[in-house]
Amino acid sequence: MRSTGWLMGSISSEVSMPTSQAERLLSLFTSADRASAIAGDLTEERDHRGPIVFWLDVVRTMSALWTRAVTDAPLRVLMLALSGCVLLVGPAFVGIAAIALFPGAIGSPVGWSGLSLAWCAGALWTGASLVGCAPSRGLAACATLALVGETLLIAFLARAPVPELPMVPLVIAYATSLAVPPLLLVGGAIARRRLIFRGLSTQEHHR
């Protein structure tokens, strides 16, 4: 009896780890209880359909939920995305101002690294701010901005002539610009998870 109980516990933990990961991803674009139910449904079908189809379904469901958030209120999402663009400019100026305090660092790898750090931190902060302002659609706006931004950046970098700059600052600048959109999404996801956790904590407190 004890060995059967251990086996059931082992099977349960094998099943629940991907389910928990799927639930966390899905909760970025829908409510916590819906995400839990959807993750449970996909887990129930996983035995018949396999783990690859399970994860494909998770990604496709996330994509569908994101699309719905955008198409249900396109103007609101657009305004949020534009606000995100404006917010992103601030940290860039802060970084430039900070580097300008040290004239020796201007144009050096240290200066470029400092600027990159400011911009990356700004991307995280912008994502978190968008979700903080609009908990239900903020992450959809972040994802939209990240996708459009990354696409434009890749298209621009592929076609633009290589500027006359030393190699190291060029690599830092390019790498930073490509990292900003995903960091925007990461900042939004962290803020969203905190909101969900706070909501669950509040529910627990009121019970």
Partner: protein
């Protein structure tokens, strides 16, 4: 202006599947019912967004069931058609019947 309460084709199929399933209507069973009866392979994303839309419109209600180990300890979200949902479904079905009435291609009868 009154908010639109028209049903899309997938929404109608989902409501019909939920009615057929009764108390056992949740994501997995609804998809299976649509696949078996309507021969429609509905993607999970399409189903869950449609269910969310129907719930926002007030056409379905939901309740959480008990968690099970087979579902990684997650509860099922059971769905039920509301009175407003039934009314909207009947309206859609009547509209379909009125449009299809007398069409040889659909019914195989001679036009009146």
């Amino acid at each position: 202006m009154a908010r639109t309460t028209n049903l899309g084709e997938l929404e109608q199929l989902i409501l019909l599947a939920v009615l057929r399933l009764g108390d056992d209507a949740y994501g997995v069973t609804i998809r299976a019912e649509l696949s078996n009866r309507a021969r429609r392979a509905v993607a999970p994303g399409a189903l869950y967004t449609a269910l969310e839309r129907l719930e926002t419109k007030g056409f379905v209600g939901s309740r959480m069931g008990d968690p099970t180990p087979q579902r990684g300890g997650r509860a099922k979200r059971y769905v039920k058609v509301t009175a407003a949902g039934l009314k909207a479904l009947k309206r859609a079905q009547h509209a379909f019947d009125r449009l299809a009435d007398g069409l040889n291609q659909l019914r195989g009868k001679h036009a009146h």
